[in-house]
């Protein structure tokens, strides 16, 4: 790969990461505000963002505590939301190789956003780069804005709503998904995964729909076996992608 190509890939990843990092700030402000309302001190609130570092689980735990829920209920709800990290770990593990202490600190950055940007890249090197840039960026912004939210809090939720910032996340995820939709089996898995998740939203606790969506991959062999499929890829192509392959922008 030429250095011009490397620069192009690097700056594309930076642009993807920047939009996503900017989009988390309003939500950390709301988290800080919610934690303050639930009676947490600024230190406890900051501790959640530093050491738990998983947006939805932090929200759930603090909300349950604020409603007078038990310690057990708050912790279990948060952990259930994070079971999906286990699956993220399986996706990202090959790209996060290194000494045990490197894998140990990189694991703390494992959230929806870093896994989304990382897994959208081609080849381990760029998957790792996308994961780290997004993970570190979100970590810094999430923690800083959590404290701002706790100290300054009022009205954050209305501002997010009025500016349509809650549509920024889904748009970013769709953009990361987009290049995959060109392949038949990826498209089938995406449609099925989305359907499973939406159906489960009213039926299962938050976090479970995302986790269950991954069962959609089990249907992928159907897409491969269909006859007269001109764009079908061979098994070897799919299981050993070229490390330097650059997807279309």
């Amino acid at each position: 790969m030429s250095s011009a190509e490397e620069t192009a890939i690097r700056s594309r990843i930076h642009r993807q990461a920047a939009s996503i990092i900017a989009a988390v700030a309003p939500f950390a402000i709301v988290f800080g505000a919610a934690a303050a309302t639930a009676g947490l001190s600024v230190w406890e609130t900051a501790g959640f963002s530093l050491f738990v570092f998983a947006g939805s689980a932090q929200f759930a735990a603090v909300e349950i505590l604020g409603d007078g829920g038990s310690v057990g209920a708050a912790a279990i709800a948060g952990l259930l939301l994070n079971v999906r990290s286990l699956a993220f770990g399986v996706i990202m593990a090959p790209a996060l190789a290194g000494a045990w202490w490197q894998r140990a600190w990189m694991s703390q950055l494992m959230i929806d956003e870093s896994t989304a940007v990382g897994s959208a890249q081609s080849g381990r090197r760029w998957q790792r780069y996308g994961y780290l840039v997004t993970g570190i960026g979100v970590f810094v912004v999430w923690n800083a804005t959590t404290v701002v939210g706790h100290l300054v809090f009022s009205g954050a939720e209305e501002v997010i709503h009025d500016l349509g910032l809650d549509a920024a996340g889904p748009a970013a995820f769709l953009a990361l998904l987009w290049p995959r939709l060109a392949q038949r089996d990826q498209r089938l898995v995406a449609i099925l995964g989305a359907a499973i998740a939406v159906i489960l939203v009213p039926l299962a606790p938050p976090g479970v729909p995302i986790l269950a969506s991954m069962l959609a991959v089990l249907a992928a062999p159907l897409a491969r076996r269909t006859p007269d499929d001109g764009e079908r890829m061979s098994i070897t192509e799919l299981t050993s992608p070229a490390e330097d392959e650059v997807p279309d922008e």
Binding site: S107, I210, M214
Partner: protein
């Protein structure tokens, strides 16, 4: 110790165990090729689910609101090959405009 502190310690250690299990236990050990094929497809399911749940999910209900317009605009922008940042801004702007009009 406050309740919040206990939840913080339990949730932080449990969450870390879930996050680190893949990288620390599995490492970069090669998976069998059939399994590898399925793991390569996981991001498609994950990204599609994140997209839809963030668009129509509201706690434990499915709510169709202005975010759906934002997602549609994002889809059109992607189809027209708009850059990533523009896709995100257009989606937010479209959502905000719909809300201002309602």
């Amino acid at each position: 110790m406050s309740d919040a502190m206990i939840v913080l310690i339990v949730l932080a250690s449990g969450t870390y165990a879930l996050k680190a299990a893949g990288p620390l236990v599995l490492g970069d050990r090669a998976l069998p090729s059939g399994l590898r094929y399925l793991v390569d497809l996981l991001p498609a399911a994950l990204l599609a689910a994140l997209t839809l749940v963030a668009t129509v999910g509201d706690d434990r209900a499915v709510v169709l609101d202005a975010r759906l317009v934002g997602l549609f605009v994002a889809g059109v922008a992607l189809w027209r090959r708009a850059p990533f940042w523009l896709v995100v801004i257009l989606a937010s702007a479209a959502t905000a405009v719909v809300r201002a009009g309602v």
